[in-house]
Amino acid sequence: MNLLANLINGLSLGAVYAIIALGYTMVYGIAKMLNFAHGDVIMVGGYVCFCTMSYLHMPAPAGVLFAVIVCTVLGIVIEKLAYKPLRQATSLAVLITAIGVSYFLQNAALLIWKSDPKVFTSVVNIPAIRLFDGQLVISGVTVATIASSVIIMIALTIFTGKTKVGKAMRAVSEDKGAAQLMGINVNSTISVTFAIGSGLAAIAGVLLCSAYPTLMPTTGSMPGIKAFTAAVFGGIGSIPGAMLGGLLLGVIEIFAKAYISTQLSDAIVFAVLIIVLLIKPTGLLGKAIHEKV
């Protein structure tokens, strides 16, 4: 029973990682950049939702909606101001700019919301599920998190596979130049990708804070790094890969905490990542890139 409870906890944490990783992977797939500011967009989403609910006394769905809107706009603005001018620059230059954006968001949040942790009230009102005469309790947040991650993954897969914009995204990620020649607006496609990624980050932020209710300007950093790891784990650029990577990472983390060592759990998570990458250098579901001379 304990094992099952840990597995569910792991899946719940993993589902949050998966939602963040989905955003990461989409942005990476199309812009080929490691967007280190993604974790901080999560934090902004959490704060916006918190403010809407606590200060404006609005209901939870309004808070979530507002967080998604603010983060989507934020994502587009960041892309337009900071990343778009660097489209032709080296990947390292873009990486450092992303780090600059990350510092900016963290410090702006520090100025606006101060450093003291805010206690986040859960947005999920689903009653907990009791199984096996109450031996196994699955909280509402867990159910909501896992459900939303699955829904998001399916929606994204359909979106990128069937819709015109989604197909344009895949084309741009395949070959920017060729996509442009086919009449695809590369800039707006990249903007849409950033918008979707940031919107997902907002949802992830709200769910993360519902499960772990302390909110600080640095709340997003570690989940951001972990989700990035998850995206690489599953094969960066692949949507099912991000989902799988996120869930596995969450389960490994919780299991490591429960059965090996609480303190060394992070080390174990990263060690598993290294081993996976050594065996499959492009991640679990990543496509192998063949080098040409």
């Binding site: 990476y28 490691l34 280190f36 900071a82 001018p85 660097l86 032709q88 620059a89 080296t90 990947s91 390292l92 230059a93 990486l95 450092i96 700019t97 780090i99 600059g100 954006v101 510092y103 900016f104 410090n107 702006a108 520090l110 100025l111 950093s221 790094i225 990035f228 790891t229 690489v232 960066i236 060592s261 303190q263 060394l264 992070d266 080390a267 990263f270 060690a271 990542l273 290294i274 990458l277 050594l278 250098p281 492009t282 991640g283 080098e291 001379v293």
Partner: protein, 354 residues
């Protein structure tokens, strides 16, 4: 060909001259009491960061692989150095000798870690390599967070659980898990930092111009072409990476011996990134640029201290603007027309990671 050699040598002499002149000026100002105490306190960290910037430049600029975990090597050197200094307190009374030993052993331990990390890491490429270095950096931090080490009459005691399980009779606890190392004698001085910079600089610049260095740069520029001319890719990559790790370890020891307490958390992902920022802002592969960037960016938050809460925000904005200013073709053209041609040129030695 001749011109390029002269250019490199000229650049090399310029770099040494710049470091020495700045050191002499700073030393003079320091003795004249014209430096504020907060800046004087930053001198040793600046030296350590400069060494780190040179070390990371070897990996990122010369070897052409992105490392996001160099703070890990720094922390290995830092904690090794601290242990050496405290454990040898009885055996070696001279502070300077202990300091030199700390730097050397710190460098060796970091180099060993570099071998351990390098063998798996260097098999990967591009962003995957970067994420694995990040992972190793976090692993090193996490393990150091769980190390308990003490010294008493019967020697060193080691545990991964807590201080009680060390089983010591008296003696001192050197590393106390997440609380880090406490009671470190302050042996680092500005002069020592300056000498270390010169050593690190000499090692790096000579390496770049050696046969090994040329092989490493050939691998960076085209791996497959280099391999087909008979260059042993793994060996040269590992050599450069391990030397870079060793230099980072030495910088770490210098850094740690400047403070009375040091925690593993200090050397996290953010520190790795900070050093990477020095390297990128200075121009990737440009050693001199990295040195200048490390010094300026360490002093900048100090100078902005009057802005209080806004200083890190300004730091972030400056960082973004500099990156946009140096990498955006349009902006660079505008800057070029204002400041003359020189600014319009690409960053010297600038070399993308891809």
């Amino acid at each position: 060909m001749k011109k390029t050699i002269r250019k490199i040598l000229g650049g090399k002499a310029m770099t040494y001259a710049m470091v020495i002149i700045v050191f002499v000026i700073m030393e003079a100002l320091l003795h004249g009491g014209m430096i504020s105490s907060s800046l004087a306190g930053q001198l040793v960290p600046i030296c350590a960061y400069i060494c780190m910037a040179i070390a990371l430049n070897l990996t990122v600029g010369i070897l052409g692989e992105l490392s996001l975990g160099h703070a890990g090597f720094m922390s290995v050197g830092a904690f090794t150095g601290v242990v050496v200094v405290i454990a040898l307190q009885g055996a070696v009374p001279s502070g300077i000798v202990r300091f030199i030993l700390a730097i050397i052993i710190g460098g060796i331990m970091a180099a060993l870690t570099g071998v351990l990390v390098g063998i798996p890491v260097l098999r990967l490429q591009g962003d995957y390599l970067a994420i694995v270095t990040l992972a190793f950096g976090e692993i090193i931090k996490n393990i150091l967070n769980n190390i308990y080490l003490g010294v008493d009459g019967s020697g060193l005691h080691f545990s991964m659980k807590d201080t009680a399980s060390l089983g010591m009779q008296g003696g001192t606890v050197i590393i106390n898990g997440p609380m880090g190392a406490v009671g470190i004698p302050k042996l680092s001085t500005f002069v020592a930092g300056f000498i270390l910079i010169l050593i690190v600089l000499t090692v790096t610049l000579n390496l770049i111009q050696s046969r090994t260095g040329r092989a490493v740069m050939a691998i960076r520029d085209n791996r497959i072409a280099a391999e087909s001319t008979g260059i042993d890719i793994t060996r040269y990559k590992l050599t450069a990476f391990v030397i870079s790790a060793a230099l980072a370890g030495m910088a770490g020891a210098l850094y740690a011996l400047n403070y009375s307490t040091i925690v593993p958390k200090k050397f996290d992902f953010n520190t790795s990134i900070l050093i990477l920022v020095f390297v990128v802002l200075g121009g990737i592969g440009n050693i001199r640029g990295g040195i200048i960037a490390a010094a300026v960016l360490t002093i900048l938050p100090e100078l902005l201290r009057s802005m209080n809460d806004y200083r890190m925000l300004i730091y972030a904005i400056v960082l973004i603007l500099v990156m946009l200013g140096t990498n955006n073709p349009q902006l660079r053209r505008i800057l070029g027309s204002i400041f003359g041609r020189k600014h319009a040129e690409p960053v010297e030695g600038g070399k993308s990671n891809e």
